[in-house]
């Protein structure tokens, strides 16, 4: 589904290489020490970080040079995932088209997505009036209407408490299986990996390793991963 062919990313003194394939419909956790390049890897796939050499192939299309908005990717960042001056409904609608008026059919899709994430009745609220969990739900509703085949999560739930984070991960898992999208998510927590991931990409020492089965890796981690997990 997503293929990184000899990808190399260089920023200042930092470099990261990646050469692997992510299978369609797979749920991949990206783990590794702070500063190893987890966010950089996702940023490169989403188009925010330029790739120095190599190719990014998504669904048999070369997206190495494509603009971020033109890639088949939905990404949630650590923060600023919602426009604070716009209502929930408008924030979700911007995932479809940046226009003043949506068609009736598009409005119905927005409404359905808001209902799906459990925010019915909060369409006209602004992000500032929502709790952290509700803000995450609103951002996920937009991922839902965008309906892109690849969803990237760069720790959007990092600021939430453990219970709420588990709730959000479960919601993500449901939404992903609804849409059949492929998921790549950065995380620090092994329990997140167990909860949601099929496979794990370990990023360390300038290399993003090819994904391996999550259960095996957690049970019998190679030395570097063992050192990271502690």
């Amino acid at each position: 589904m997503l293929r990184l062919e000899g990808v190399r990313i260089e920023q200042g003194g930092f470099s990261l290489t990646a050469d692997f394939t992510v299978r369609e419909g797979c749920r991949v956790a990206v783990i590794g020490p702070s500063g190893a390049g987890k966010s950089t890897l996702l940023g490169a796939i989403a188009g925010f970080v330029p790739v120095t050499s190599g190719r990014l192939i998504c669904e048999e299309t070369d997206i190495t040079a494509a603009a971020p908005g033109a890639r088949p990717v939905s990404m949630l960042f650590q923060d600023n995932n919602l426009f604070p001056h716009l209502t929930v409904a408008r924030n979700v609608a911007l995932g479809l088209r940046p226009v003043l008026r949506l068609t009736a059919e598009e409005n119905a899709r927005v409404q359905a997505a808001i209902e799906r994430v459990g925010l019915s009745g909060m369409e006209d609220r602004r992000p500032g009036d929502l709790s952290g969990g509700q803000q995450s739900r609103a951002a996920l509703a937009r991922v839902l209407v965008r309906d892109r085949p690849l969803v990237l999560l760069d720790e959007p739930f990092a600021a939430l408490g453990p219970a709420l984070r588990r709730e959000m991960l479960d919601l993500v898992a449901e939404l992903i299986s609804d849409t059949g999208a492929t998921l790549m998510m950065v995380t620090h927590a092994p329990e997140d990996v167990r909860r949601i991931a099929d496979e794990v990409i370990f990023v360390e020492g300038g290399i993003a390793h090819a994904p391996g089965p999550a259960a095996d890796l957690l049970k019998n981690p190679p030395p570097a991963l063992r050192a990271y997990l502690g």
């Binding site: 970080v49 908005g69 716009l86 940046p98």
Partner: protein, 518 residues
């Protein structure tokens, strides 16, 4: 990190900036056409240069000197009405110059309140015309600016330092040396430079309170050469002098000019343990009373005499008021059409891009632009016929540096926080303006529009060059009434002008903030 993609391009901003540069360069070209380099600087021109520099030095020096005790007192006292007083310190920025002059005349003029008191005690009266009148008016306008700049500095001082000073029981002079002197050293040069540059191109104050051969600024000399002698060559020559002096001063001052304070100030309360002695409180109370009186009494005088004079206001004043309103509206539109795209462009660039345009605004004086364009337009069409649109454009250009300083940080903040999200959602170009930049910068844009509108409503500058009886703005009409000694009518017009300037500012500012909140 490599430059990340942005939702907007700088193309529109580059075009807008190009238009501004073209307008200014056209004025230069017009002047260059007529200025005769072999002319030489005569005694009258030397006198104007000298007076311009002398009054600017006095104005800048007195403003910052007087601002120190006032800002200090305001920073360390808490009293009822304090926040209103600090907000009012921002008012001279939008106060029409000619209204302030009328107010100052009511207090310090020949039959003013001060002379009445002096006469009561049998003391000789004071005269407000000439150098000290010009300096008085400039201090009236710039003392509040300097005070606000200093207050901002005082506010930036961490509260913990005062706590430490109290803990060590430092005597007043030690507090001054360790806490306040470093602050003054940092802020005062910039504040003085800013005021100096502003006063260099002073026109309306010099027109009303100066004027004799011994108290003529260069800007006023341009006006006189143009209006009285219609000596285009002399006007152009004086414009070149003005450009050289104001331009080089602005160039030098550019590096030390501080940011223009925006908010009402005093948003953070710092508890102070020092300066609690009775004599210190009494001095501060006296300083605040004097400062507030100096700033408020002229306005009070305008309001009082204006109310009495409103019935005397002739129809011509109402017509001029209407003209001023649409000129201000046009000026706001022109400013927005230039400043918004430019703000987008500057926000995309590395920091510091706006300063170059502040330079143009400070060095290209209104009358210089007016003379330059007149020379170019005159062979093609009747410049008097387009005097009002020209005034609107000049007002917009004059407000542009301030507008950019206000709008650019808001646009930059919006792009820094949400530009990535826009890109991720493929919201670009007009859509990015519509959904991200305009809403996020609405408050700043409204504030800038309010400043522009108020400056334009109250401006007595380039319109004085071209005006004929049919095309006149309210400040010019008011000046004519003053010149004709129709005191009551002028007072009524002053009140009307004051209310209009404040109303235009208030409506735009509120509109922006309401939009930002909605």
């Amino acid at each position: 990190m490599a430059r990340s993609p942005q939702p907007i391009t700088g193309a529109g901003g580059r075009i807008a900036a190009g238009c501004v540069v073209a307008l200014v360069v056209l004025a230069f070209a017009g002047i260059a056409l007529r200025a005769e380099p072999g002319r030489g600087i005569g005694p009258a021109e030397w006198s104007a240069i000298r007076f311009t520099l002398v009054q600017a030095v006095w104005s800048a020096g007195l403003s910052v000197l007087l601002a120190v005790p006032l800002a200090r007192a305001l920073a360390r006292r808490r009293f009822a009405g304090q926040s209103i007083l600090i907000t009012l310190l921002g008012a001279p920025f939008i106060l029409p110059v000619i209204v302030a002059v009328l107010g100052l005349l009511a207090i310090f003029g020949r039959n003013g309140w001060v002379n009445e008191v002096l006469g009561f005690f049998g003391l000789p009266g004071i005269s407000v015309y000439g150098l000290h009148g010009v300096v008085l008016a400039h201090v009236f306008f710039n003392l509040p600016l300097a005070t606000r700049l200093l207050l901002q500095g005082w506010q930036s001082m961490p509260a913990e330092r005062f706590r430490l000073a109290a803990q060590l029981d430092l005597p007043p002079w030690m507090i001054f040396r360790t806490l306040e002197w470093p602050l003054l050293k940092r802020i005062l040069p910039g504040a003085a430079a800013l005021i100096f540059v502003i006063c260099l191109t002073s026109f309306a104050v010099a027109l009303t309170l100066g004027g004799g051969p011994r108290s003529t600024t260069i800007e006023l000399a341009i006006y006189q050469a143009f209006r009285f002698n219609f000596d285009l060559s002399l006007a152009a020559f004086l414009s070149v002098i003005q450009l050289v002096i104001a331009g080089s001063a602005a160039l030098i001052a550019l590096w030390i000019i501080p940011d223009i304070p925006q908010g009402a100030g005093m948003d953070r309360r710092v508890t102070r343990w020092d300066a609690r002695a009775g004599w210190q409180r009494a001095t501060d109370a006296l300083i605040i009373t004097l400062g507030a009186g100096f700033l408020l009494l002229p306005l009070l005088a305008v309001a009082l005499s204006g109310l009495a004079g409103l019935s005397e206001v002739p129809l011509s004043v109402w017509r001029a008021a209407w003209t001023s309103l649409w000129v201000a509206g046009l000026s706001i539109l022109v400013m927005l059409a230039i400043a918004l795209p430019m703000a987008g462009w500057i926000a995309l660039r590395a920091r510091g891009g706006a300063e170059a345009f502040g330079l143009i605004g400070l060095s290209a004086s209104p009358l210089m632009l007016g003379v330059g364009w007149f020379i170019l337009l005159n062979p093609v069409l009747d410049p008097v016929g387009v005097s009002l649109p020209v005034t609107a454009v000049v007002n917009a250009l004059m407000a542009l540096p301030f507008a950019l300083r206000i709008i650019v940080p808001a646009v930059r903040g919006a792009l820094e926080s949400y530009g990535r999200l826009c890109i991720a959602l493929d919201i670009r170009g007009f859509a990015a303006w519509r959904w991200l930049i305009l809403p996020r910068s609405a408050a700043a844009t409204g504030f800038a529009a309010g400043l522009t509108g108020a400056l334009s409503v109250g401006d007595l500058g380039v319109i004085a060059l071209f005006a004929d009886p049919d095309r006149t703005t309210l400040p010019l009409q008011m000046y004519r009434l003053m010149g004709a000694y129709r005191v009551e009518a002028a007072a009524g017009a002053a009140l009307l002008l004051l209310v209009m300037a404040l109303a235009v500012f208030w409506i735009c500012d509120r509109g922006g903030r309401w939009h930002a909140a909605a």
